[in-house]
């Protein structure tokens, strides 16, 4: 029976490794951070009549992208508390009144060596925001921000799926994802087309 025994022991080792690698490892690799307050895209879109992403995430005149809005933008409506939620209190008391920018954690932020132009993708290529950011603009909760302990990247860059094999349509923002999309659309750019 020693043959069976070997196989069993081998399989046991295999199973332990698979368990560690697929279940434990992802939890260890990413640390979790919480946004400073619960921002609700859905409420802003539905109740406050913010129709266009660009109203807050603006592309400036020189073509650069403002990214997450500065606190003055929020202060436009929230100079005083609007509603009774905890988030409202945090926003007004901790950020708007003292004039500090809200330390948002940007899920989709690329590292400093990447030059991604929203202007070119949105204005020239006419891509919609959901093409890369999925329907996050309609979400009714803030996600936990997960950061890779080794590389320091947001988990959104790799995507939630560890294997990257069965990803949701807009999951992942690695270079290979950019390349794939560029290939599909037959747009060729050199290294420095997207790096700086």
């Amino acid at each position: 029976m020693s043959k069976w025994r070997n196989s069993f022991v081998f399989a046991f080792g295999l199973a332990v490794a698979l368990l560690l690698g697929w279940v434990v490892f992802p939890r260890v690799l990413y640390s979790q951070k919480h946004q400073p307050l619960d921002f609700l895209h859905k409420t802003h879109a539905e109740k406050s009549g913010v129709a266009d992403c660009a109203e807050c995430h603006t592309i400036r005149e020189d073509g650069t992208f403002a990214g997450l809005p500065a606190v003055e933008k929020c202060a436009g409506c929230h100079s005083e508390r609007v509603g009774e939620s905890k988030a409202e209190a945090i926003l007004v008391d901790s950020y708007i009144k003292p004039g500090h920018d809200t330390p948002w954690l940007a899920y989709a932020r690329q590292p400093a060596n990447v030059w991604f132009s929203h202007a070119i993708h949105v204005k020239r290529a006419n891509l919609s925001c959901t093409e890369c950011h999925s329907t996050y603009g309609e979400s009714d909760r803030v996600r936990v921000y997960e950061v890779n302990r080794i590389s320091g990247y947001s988990r959104d860059i790799w995507g939630h799926s560890m294997s990257r094999l069965r990803r949701a349509p807009h999951e992942g923002m690695k270079m290979s994802d950019c390349e794939e999309c560029h290939k599909q659309r037959n747009v060729e750019v050199g290294c420095l087309g997207c790096h700086q």
Partner: protein, 570 residues
């Protein structure tokens, strides 16, 4: 089947102990399994990404970038700047091509001037002797001193609104106001003595000259407002055998200017004055200039011996100088013998010569290091660090950067690059009057005060720099002369109101008058000036006013051999 395997295994587990082989087989299984998990591949990937984003590598700031027009305030040459700003910090400097004098050019150091505010040698605290002190203590010490006796105020950049504050204070206090002038400005003092026209209102009309004879002045190497002469030289046929503008460089070594000049005349070191006298003799002897001039006491032969040039060579040089006129002689400093050559050549007050550009400029009193009777000396941050007063008085020295050991009782941190509002009077050597305003674009990260601010805070009756600038703008507007060089060039008549004029100036536009040749002046020498002592050769670093250089400057002398390393202060 699986059931039986498991069953057997369990049974055997009961019967058998774990052997070394089991461990090995288990390990092999685990290793095989691990390869089928993301662990090795993801770690490999993440570790390389980590190496691309090492946390200790500095990251540039993020934020909107805007470009502001301003001026370089580090020395009196007043070049126009375009400053790139991000997040309130200056992140890039370039020349402003709309500036009529500097025309988009800058000296090499200006390109990294925005780094100077972070220089390790930045003076960050008020210092009294060797200990730290406070602004309050410095103010009370200065107030006490100025009550007790005369205060000598020393300025390195005359003509600014701040200079006016300093001068007014000195006048009110009963002290005196002295100026440490740049070599470019000092070079005009002989003419001031001969004609009574203040040095600061004279300039060179290079644009109309056809021959420029430079006695060791580094004309192509940071002399005057750098862009003016270099552009002119380049555009008038640099490298051609017969350029439109002939630059004859008389120099004891193959300086940068000599290397690129149309002709280089090699002379012995320090013999510029002697050659000037010899040249005058040769000009007169060959009747190349009108003869109504005093004859130099030095003979051609003596001059030849001193300069190391043959007599024939000097005669040849004389012919060369007048071969293409107007000819203009430029001295490195205030050597009267060289200045007298311009009188001889008739270039004073004439096209392509030395011309006055503004009125109402007061002659300055040059600061000597031996200061007479004084209770205290106040030194503005614009004064070069090399200037060390020799006097038994309490010295209050303003400086943005610490130049090392120099006698000063009080060291007071002054605003750094673009941290202070200042105006920019005409740069020395310009043939037209100019005026610009450089607002404080960057906020200081430490507590700083300029000498003018310091005095204004002590004496509320003094006009502030801002007020003086305001009234100067109004005066200029009222004159209705000249042009405003902003986004476009506009004649001042086209500017609708004084408010708009001021606004444009504050946004970095520069006002420039026109060279007023109508006020031509004559000058006759009674006798040929006596020879002055030779001036030692200047290095490029001494033309730079701040005591420190931006770290990037080491590209020029340390990471390459392009330039000689700066002289260290003792």
């Amino acid at each position: 089947m699986w059931k039986s395997v498991a069953w057997d295994a369990i049974n055997e587990g009961k019967a058998m102990k774990v052997t070394r082989r089991d461990l090995l087989v288990w390990g092999a299984g685990a290793a095989a399994g691990l390869l089928a998990t993301p662990v090795p591949w993801k770690v490999l990937d993440d570790v390389s990404i980590w190496s691309q984003n090492w946390p200790w590598i500095p990251q540039p700031t993020r934020g909107p970038v805007e470009v502001k027009q301003s001026f370089c305030t580090l020395c009196p040459k007043a070049c126009g700047l375009r400053v790139r700003m991000a997040n309130g910090w200056a992140v890039g400097v370039a020349g402003s091509s709309t500036h009529p004098i500097s025309r988009g050019a800058l000296c090499p150091l200006a390109f990294a001037a925005h780094q100077l505010n972070w220089h390790p040698q930045r003076l960050r605290n008020v210092r009294h002797g060797s200990s730290l002190s406070t602004w309050a203590e410095a103010q009370s010490a200065f107030a006490k001193a100025s009550k007790e006796g005369p205060v000598v105020v020393i300025d390195g950049y005359s003509g600014r609104a701040a200079s006016s504050v300093l001068e007014t204070f000195a006048g009110k206090q009963g002290g005196s106001y002295r100026v440490v002038a740049t070599p470019e400005l000092r070079a005009f003092t002989p003419y001031e003595q001969w004609t009574g026209i203040p040095a600061a209102s004279l300039g060179y009309d290079f644009e109309n000259a056809r021959t420029i004879v430079s006695f060791g002045a580094p004309l192509l190497d940071g002399w005057g407002t750098p862009g003016r002469l270099t552009r002119l030289w380049a555009e008038s046929g640099a490298g051609l055998s017969d350029p439109q503008l002939r630059l004859i460089q008389i120099d004891s070594s193959l300086s940068r200017t000599a290397a690129r000049a149309w002709q280089w005349i090699e002379i012995r070191e320090g013999s510029e004055s002697a050659l000037a006298s010899g040249l005058a003799g040769a000009l007169l002897e060959q009747n190349l200039v009108p003869a109504h001039s005093p004859v130099p006491s030095m003979t051609l032969a003596e001059s030849s011996a001193q300069a190391g040039l043959s007599v024939e060579r000097i005669r040849e040089l004389a012919r060369l100088v007048v071969a293409k006129t107007p000819a203009l002689v430029v001295a490195r400093d205030d050597d009267p013998a060289i200045a007298a050559l311009n009188v001889l050549l008739g270039s004073l007050g004439n096209r392509g010569g030395i011309v006055p550009h503004s009125e109402g400029v007061k002659p300055y009193v040059a600061a000597e290091s031996a200061i007479g009777n004084a209770r205290a000396v106040l030194i503005d941050a614009s004064v070069p660090w090399e200037f060390v007063p020799q006097v038994e008085a309490e010295i209050f020295r303003f400086a943005a950067w610490d130049g090392g050991a120099t006698k000063a009782d009080w060291l007071l941190p002054a605003p750094g690059f673009l941290e202070d509002l200042t105006d920019l009077p005409t740069a020395p050597g310009c043939s037209a009057q100019t005026y610009g305003v450089a607002p404080a674009l960057v906020k200081a990260t430490i507590e700083v005060q300029s000498a003018a601010q310091f005095l204004c805070s002590l004496d509320a009756s003094l006009p502030t720099t801002a007020k003086i600038i305001d009234s100067r703008c109004e005066d200029l507007f009222r004159r209705r002369e000249g042009n405003l060089y902003g986004q476009q060039i506009a004649a001042i008549d086209k500017v609708s109101s004084v408010q708009s004029f001021k606004e444009q100036l504050w946004k970095g536009a520069v006002w420039a008058g026109e060279a007023s040749l109508s006020k031509a002046f004559a000058c006759h020498l009674k006798e040929w000036p006596a020879q002055t002592r030779p001036v030692s050769a200047e290095t490029w670093a001494t033309q730079w006013k701040p005591v420190v250089m931006p770290p990037l400057a080491s590209k020029l002398y340390q990471e390459s051999g392009l330039r000689e390393p700066p002289r260290r202060n003792a």
